[in-house]
């Protein structure tokens, strides 16, 4: 039923679109919508309340209250309408004003620098949307007008000097710009604390830092960005991390100093937060690029200093050689002179610091990065060690990110930067990794919480990193990492497909077993046996990666092919162990040579054609004619190909086999 009272505030909705409601009294009420939908833009909270209310139960007092809420507080129909329009109009006006000022500034910054102040004043408005728009538009203006150099305000002496009009003009422009920038930044910092403006403020800060990392106040910007690098809000965090990453990769813009600072700040944050940060915060370290020979060059210089003592002896030898090459020497000198001149000119133009400074900065960065990594490792070790002694964990409650959030990116980073690590620390690092890898997640005491102990994937990662470190520091000495092999052997038993990452397993199989040049016979046989049992227990992907590893090992260690023959007691090759111990913890003592690979027989009847063919080919390895090729598939590839995530049942093997004609021969 329509009443005139309601027409003032509400628009009638066509009953065809919205069905009427029948109350218990038997009356029909038609749905209405308020005119306040336009104000909803400006005051979102209020509008939501309005729309949600049941408008058809309005009475006089409620209407009056509503009219009062509208700015101005007039009760008459005309008054309220006038107020609504003006709010909307003012919104439009402000937007237009912002746009005008922005265009003015962009077209001629020097003349219109005062308009910046006006723009900033708009941000003091109550309307949240206006403030956000204002911040963003000022950001766009600053991005364009900030010059490519740091502004240094003139000292008192310089102010006293008489200067030309132009210089005065530039000085005025620069000082106004700097003042406005400063107040803008202060506003941003203040807004950042309020949750309404948090995202916008952060976006502004990040964009400014990204675009103009050379300008004044960059330290404050950097502190703000790094502070938010682990924020629970994902948008903010991703913004900050990508900014930091771009800082690291575009070192030319800021001359490397910001890298050092950023790394130092992150390290301090890790320390203060006691390693409870989001993994993204450490992943940014992966974007840092170091010169390859930082540490080595220092060592060479130190060596050179030592050898200076022997200079007198060496000089005589050198003199003889020098006389022969005088012409070449003079040529070389000329070339080096020219090169030096070019370098000096180049240095004057760019921001790049010279080699010594750069090396110093990189050394500082490197040490800070490694300090963070070692701190994370140590913390993980302590948290594991303490959980075995204390039953109550008062200090070790896992934070919002899980028990060891930073461990995985820390290990990845270590694997990437091991070449920069000094030999002395490698021993310590290996000890830590050994202890971490051997911490098991099975506890006998039910009171102890298992959450602090490392998962299978983390332990696998430790083994992986240990191998990568060892491989990159080979130094002509092939070290056999026995303990990590023992760990891998046991981890194979503890692996569970849903809980643990299969890719890490496949990668560790590849790096530890397939890539190694020479394998201990007993150990290889033990792994072959356990991996084939492993292949029986799990799905397609894991089985395939295990079988690929088995094939690789059997092709390389000819004596292990004894396992394919039915030779009871191991025959002549086995050691003193007469019987196979399936649950042995040490691969060397498992007595694998006393067993036979009966699992392959079962696997030839697998439902997946690729696995059955692979098992068949392994069984026939001894008797087949062609054994000269090594399979090109790695366990990781096999895992990726056959993983259920892709859910493709096409036997992809065939395309690869067709490329190699030999493979067709023996089956």
């Amino acid at each position: 039923m329509r009443t005139t009272r309601r027409e003032s505030n509400e628009i009638q909705v066509d009953p065809v679109d919205v069905l009427p409601v029948k109350t218990l009294d038997g009356k029909l009420h038609f749905r209405t919508v308020t005119k306040k939908s336009k104000l909803a833009e400006a005051d979102p909270e209020e509008a939501e309340e309005d729309v949600l209310e049941d408008e058809h139960i309005l009475n006089k007092s409620q209407r009056r209250a509503k009219a009062k809420r509208v700015k101005g507080g007039k009760e008459t129909r005309d008054g309220s309408e006038v107020k609504e329009l003006s709010a909307e109009e003012s919104f439009e006006n402000k937007k237009n004003r912002l746009a005008e000022l922005g265009m003015l500034l962009l077209s001629d910054p020097e003349a219109n620098i005062r308009s910046l102040k006006e723009m900033l004043d708009i941000s003091k408005d109550e309307n949240a949307k206006i403030v956000k728009l204002c911040l963003l538009s000022v950001l766009a203006v600053f991005k364009d007008i900030i010059p490519g150099y740091r502004i240094r305000l003139p000292t008192d002496k310089e102010l006293e000097m008489k200067v030309s009009k132009e210089v005065k003009k530039t000085r005025f422009y620069e000082s106004t710009l700097l003042k406005a920038y400063k107040s803008y930044l202060q506003k941003l910092m203040a807004f950042e604390r309020q949750s309404v403006y948090n995202q916008v403020a952060n976006r502004c800060i990040c964009t400014l830092l990204d675009a103009k990392p050379h300008f004044n106040f960059r330290d404050n910007l950097l502190t703000a960005v790094v502070r938010n690098i682990s924020s629970p809000d994902e948008v903010v965090r991703r913004l900050c991390c990508s900014t930091v990453r771009s800082l690291f990769s575009n070192e030319g813009k800021h001359g490397g100093e910001l890298t050092v600072q950023a790394v130092r700040l992150i390290a301090d944050q890790v320390k203060s937060q006691n390693c409870q940060l989001h993994p993204n915060s450490i992943e940014v370290f992966m974007s840092i690029r170091f010169d390859e020979d930082i540490g080595k060059r220092d060592r060479e210089e130190a060596n050179k200093k030592k050898f200076k003592k022997n200079d007198k002896r060496n000089n005589q030898e050198e003199q003889n050689q020098v006389q022969e090459n005088e012409r070449k020497k003079s040529k070389r000198e000329m070339m080096s002179k020219i090169r030096d001149e070019v370098n000096a000119d180049y240095k004057g133009v760019t921001y790049e610091p010279d080699a010594m400074e750069r090396r110093k900065m990189q050394t500082v960065t490197l040490s800070a990065v490694f300090e963070t990594y070692f701190r994370i490792l140590r913390k993980t070790m302590y948290s594991i060690g303490e959980s075995s002694t204390e039953e109550e964990d008062t200090t070790l409650n896992p934070g919002a990110f899980g028990p060891h959030p930073l461990l995985a990116p820390c290990l990845d980073g270590l694997a990437k930067f091991t070449q920069q690590l000094d030999l002395d620390y490698i021993g310590d690092l290996m000890n830590y990794l050994k202890k971490l890898a051997s911490s098991s997640s099975v506890s006998t005491n039910s009171k102890k919480k298992n959450s602090k102990l490392l998962t299978v994937s983390e332990r696998l990662r430790c083994c992986l990193v240990a191998f990568k470190v060892m491989r990159s520091n080979l130094n002509a000495l092939n070290v056999d990492l026995q303990d990590f092999f023992v760990q891998l052997y046991n981890l194979l038993l503890e692996y569970r497909p849903g809980r643990d990452s299969g890719e890490v397993l496949a990668e560790s199989l590849k790096i530890m077993l397939c890539d190694d040049r020479h394998q201990d016979m007993q150990k290889a046989a033990a792994f072959v046996k356990r991996l084939s049992t492993f292949a029986l227990c799990f799905g397609c992907a894991e089985s395939m990666s295990a079988l690929v590893t088995v094939k690789n090992l059997l092709q390389r260690n000819v004596k292990c092919r004894n396992l394919l023959e039915n030779d009871a007691g191991g025959g002549s090759v086995s050691g003193s162990i007469a019987k196979y111990q399936p649950y042995a913890t040490d691969p060397n003592l498992s007595g694998a040579f006393a067993s036979v690979l009966w699992e392959l027989n079962l696997l030839t009847k697998h439902y997946h054609p690729a696995i059955s063919t692979m098992a068949g080919s392994i069984s026939n390895m001894n008797t087949s004619q062609n054994q000269t090729f090594l399979s090109a598939v790695t366990p990781q590839q096999a895992f990726a190909d056959y993983s259920l995530v892709k859910e493709s049942f096409e036997p992809k093997n065939e395309s690869r086999k067709l490329s190699n004609k030999r493979k067709r021969e023996w089956w």
Partner: protein
Amino acid sequence: MRPLDENETTVVFEKIFKFVGNNLKNIVENPSHEGPEPEPGRYCFRLQKSRVYYVSESLVKRATNISRKSLVSLGTCIGKYTHAGSFHLTIMSLNLLAANAKHKVWLKPTSEMSFLYGNHVLKGGLGRITDSIVPGDGVVVFSMSDVPLGFGIAAKSTQDCRKLDPNGIVVLHQADIGEYLRDEDEL
């Protein structure tokens, strides 16, 4: 023939521990399938004429029937006591040690012969080395094809080995299988 007493057992075990570490319990508790008894017996140590032997229990039982003067040897001789009273492991314990060794070193084919003549192992002849070796550890020496060649004492840790020059001594020689030819009479 008599079983070892307290002191002697400690001394023998200490020597073996240097080489095998925690696998010592494997040696002591190894089930032996020798003999007609259905249940596997164990291995034990016996002393005869200042030589220590590692024998299975079933064999020991039958050896008690032989008089002391006529008994030459039983089981595997692992070492002997010198006149001064100290115990040394001989080359004949190599099989036992090699199967349970914690620290291993693999020699390059070129330096195998040098070791078999009784020389120490130099860094240049090292093919592979186990991690985490401490100076003073017992080390078993293998060839690249995993044939045990002998054993010795580590002179340097694995870390130090990396910085060593190629003529530095890595393993001090104690026994090698060339002794079977050289010192035939003494064994």
